[in-house]
Point group: C2
Chain length 300, copies 2
């Protein structure tokens, strides 16, 4: 395929790069999704060469899945949603890549997640999984809030809930407060019985280790443990505020994405919950819509 | 020298291992300090072989300083104060080391710091530098509180003050609160003008990077910046509580050690400040006192 053929009957590939996986989806306007591929992590913040390798591999797998050959990547219009490309240096590094595609458009993983959630339309999203952040795009306006990473930001995220719980448990164990159900559950989680045991399991560990405690915090809060409730209320309060900040640009739709979206919902303020709509498509499809939109803008 | 000679006229070496330096001090009952040596970091939590190398090198330098030969280490009674040896596995790793000394006694860096602060006597200390923790020993009682490490614990420490300040600045920059003098000072500190700039300088960085912000937080608090004051008051409140917990075992003396001991003092509760006594000797001398006490106990 040549770029000229591409312009007449373009094939798009959406790449959703993340901290654990990279998903590629090949999409045509006529047939929808025709192939998918999954490779390892593709987060430019954690290494460029690994990111390029994962994009390449997921692309090859998607091409194979679509019954195409590896060299057919030269005919694809690519949309990449990647973490960290709001840092100008990283954006430039990605754009400078001698990529295997006909065209390549790069944006943040937040942007493609948002485009996906609203099936190509404008809107706002809040992502609450291991981390947390908010994003909205309406007309020329783009708003990106929070998401400053563990342990600096990401309030209300899984890792943040886990960290706050561990802090509280250690304060309890040092005698600064009474033991509660949360203490017992966390000691049970790690099969330890003192502060040293907790520290051994968590000191210097990644955000995902802390995020594994989030379910315990949420279930203790659900069972009316006061310490757990205070943590969850503070986190959910921040997420509600984050949503209201996004509403200031009047997004036509609002969705929440990520593993904590559902369990956090009962703790959000009612005005925020009232505006919640379901996500319509996953981020990797959002990346194909982004590729198509960017390509259409260029050729028209 | 043989161990028998050692028993008659013992020479002691105190080792104070830390996250950045390892200090060795050779001490005799007759002449006091006769040699000192400094090597790189010796923190078992961050690597055993480096710890052993730093202990060995600082010992050799101290021997040279005392006009002795390297093989004379075989006649020294050593006292080691090391971080992390309250973890039984690490304690055992250190004790199993085929060390170059006549005798070797191992305890935590907190214990030797406390012995030093009270020149061999009993008492309590709070250490507030990059990290924070409290320690007391009175008779058979030993109390060790806090010090669970960044970002899990170490409330009121330099790293904690820096982290809280960075969190607040990011919340301000995302529009969740008004800008204050603290915001301006921290943006100036990093020579950046937005949240991304702050995150680029701090994401994934060590506790010492955060601790470098502590002076700024304290000076803003001193100039009555409300956000900075709230952070410092919360940290100092914890330190005051920590002190009161230590007072429960009735320590005859109480000292504060570390770079933040002095600037934090004005923010501590009056009942705590009233009990403060100056530190009498540094941790590496504390380690020699510990060596002597352990040796005396053994031979008597």
């Amino acid at each position: 395929m040549s770029v000229n053929q591409t312009k007449e009957k373009p094939l798009f590939i959406g790449i959703d790069g993340g901290g654990s996986k990279c998903r590629a989806t090949i999409y045509s306007n006529e047939d929808g999704v025709i192939g998918t591929g999954v490779a390892g992590r593709a987060n430019p913040l954690h290494g460029l060469s690994q990111t390029f390798e994962s994009i390449q591999l997921s692309t090859e797998l998607a091409l194979k899945d679509a019954g195409m050959s590896i060299s057919d990547s030269k005919g694809l219009v690519a949309g990449l949603g990647l973490a960290g490309v709001n840092v100008p240096r990283l954006y430039q590094d990605i754009v400078n890549w001698s990529h295997p595609f006909a065209e390549m458009y790069v944006t943040t993983d937040l942007h493609t997640a948002c485009i996906g959630a609203h099936r190509g339309g404008e809107g706002a999203v809040i992502i609450t999984g291991t981390g947390s952040c908010g994003y909205a795009h309406v007309g020329d306006k783009q708003v990106c809030l929070g998401g400053h990473g563990f342990a600096l930001g990401d309030k209300g995220s899984g890792a943040w809930l886990g960290l706050k719980a561990a802090e509280q448990v250690l304060l309890h164990l040092d005698g600064f407060a009474q033991s509660t159900a949360l203490t017992e559950h966390l000691l049970g989680h790690f099969k330890v019985n003192d502060a040293m045991g907790i520290v051994e399991h968590l000191a210097g560990k990644s955000s995902s280790c802390y995020a594994k405690l989030a379910r315990t915090v949420l279930s203790c809060a659900h069972e009316k443990d006061e310490v757990a409730q205070n943590i969850v209320k503070e986190g959910a309060g921040y997420i509600s505020e984050l949503a209201r900040k996004l509403f200031e640009v009047n997004p036509p739709r609002f969705s929440m994405i990520g593993g904590l979206a559902e369990p956090l919902a009962p703790w959000l303020d009612k005005d925020v919950v009232a505006k919640l709509s379901p996500t319509l498509a996953p981020p990797e499809l959002g990346a194909t819509y982004f590729a198509r939109q960017s390509f259409d803008k260029k050729i028209n």
